[in-house]
């Protein structure tokens, strides 16, 4: 079974078909995806902007990260679940889309960026917690976060125009 056939099978399941053909479920799931995006990527961007020294420079980095994290994760959960439902309903249509594939490459890279930041750079945070200008590694993590999330949003929105 090829990947495309698997996607076709996912899209043809009763849940996939119900979401796709429903008057209200599809728009509501899409609305949830946008709101989840605003809350998760919005708060992530505030953290990234702190790391690059653009916002909340007077506040300790740990204050910004720790206090926003629950909201980032809640927004991400809403975005992740609604994203799975959207994929479920259109898997075979999304499979050939290059913008959709690119979106996931960048999501993966963002995951690596976050993992590297939290497991390496962030370990020494107590040494630069109150600095307006954070170390090179932290600034890089911030810039990568800002630009790659912009690419993800661009590719996600582009996918809607790319569909045949």
């Amino acid at each position: 079974m090829s990947l495309f056939e698997i996607c076709q099978w996912i899209q043809d399941t009763s849940i996939g078909t119900s979401i796709r053909e429903s008057t209200y479920v599809f728009p509501l799931v899409e609305a949830t995806h946008v709101i989840g995006l605003a809350i998760s990527v919005g708060t992530i961007t505030i953290v990234d902007l702190r790391l690059v020294g653009a916002v909340m420079k007077k506040e300790p980095v740990t204050d910004v990260i720790e206090q926003l994290q629950p909201w980032t994760l809640s927004g991400f959960a809403a975005m992740f679940i609604s994203g799975i439902l959207l994929f479920w309903s259109e898997a075979a249509r999304l499979y050939p889309s290059y913008s959709y594939r690119t979106k996931f490459v960048f999501l993966f890279l963002l995951g690596v960026n976050a993992l590297y930041f939290h497991s390496k750079t962030y370990k020494s945070v107590h040494q630069w917690n109150n600095d307006a200008i954070t170390p090179f590694g932290a600034r890089m993590a911030g810039w990568i976060g800002i630009t790659f999330w912009a690419v993800v949003i661009f590719m996600g929105r582009w996918t809607a125009y790319n569909l045949k």
């Binding site: 899409e30 709101i35 505030i46 204050d63």
Partner: protein
């Protein structure tokens, strides 16, 4: 001039025609609308959560609102300018769209609450109590998310 004539005029401006005749301008402008929305809703939500007393409690209301406020306004500017371009390119579609007027009323309300009330009561030295802060925060959240939901609904109604 009736509203219909006004919208017809918007629909016929050179900018509208250029955007309509291009394959790429509309999606690119829409992406910038989405960038703006993400930062606008993100920062507004954090300010509102602080006013509600459920987020960023280690900082004061004035510290959170004062430092994120400029980003909210910058993002609002980006969202509104890109929104005007999107509107111009399909003014007649907006005229007959049931969700569009709701979005505009929510937007007007959200901007009025932000500039006339919220900025004032979150400034340093404000003596407004927690009840008023919470009420305004809930109003702000309802209005801004109303804008987003009604905006998303334009594509479906």
């Amino acid at each position: 001039m009736t509203l219909l004539e006004l919208f017809r005029w918007f629909d016929a401006t050179p900018i509208s025609v250029v955007i309509r005749n291009s394959t790429y301008i509309f999606p690119v402008v829409e992406v910038f609308h989405l960038f703006g929305l993400t930062l606008l809703l993100g920062t507004v939500t954090v300010i509102d959560l602080r006013m509600l007393g459920v987020g960023m409690k280690r900082q004061s209301v004035a510290e959170v609102a004062g430092q994120l406020g400029p980003w909210t306004m910058g993002a609002a500017l980006l969202t509104i300018v890109s929104g005007i371009l999107l509107f111009l390119s399909e003014a007649m579609k907006c005229y007959s769209n049931a969700a569009f007027p709701y979005k505009m009323w929510f937007l007007l309300g959200a901007l009025l609450v932000y500039f006339l009330i919220q900025r004032r009561i979150t400034s340093p030295g404000s003596k407004v109590g927690p009840f008023a802060l919470k009420t305004v925060a809930i109003l702000s959240l309802c209005l801004w998310y109303g804008v987003a939901l009604a905006g998303r609904a334009i594509a479906f109604v």
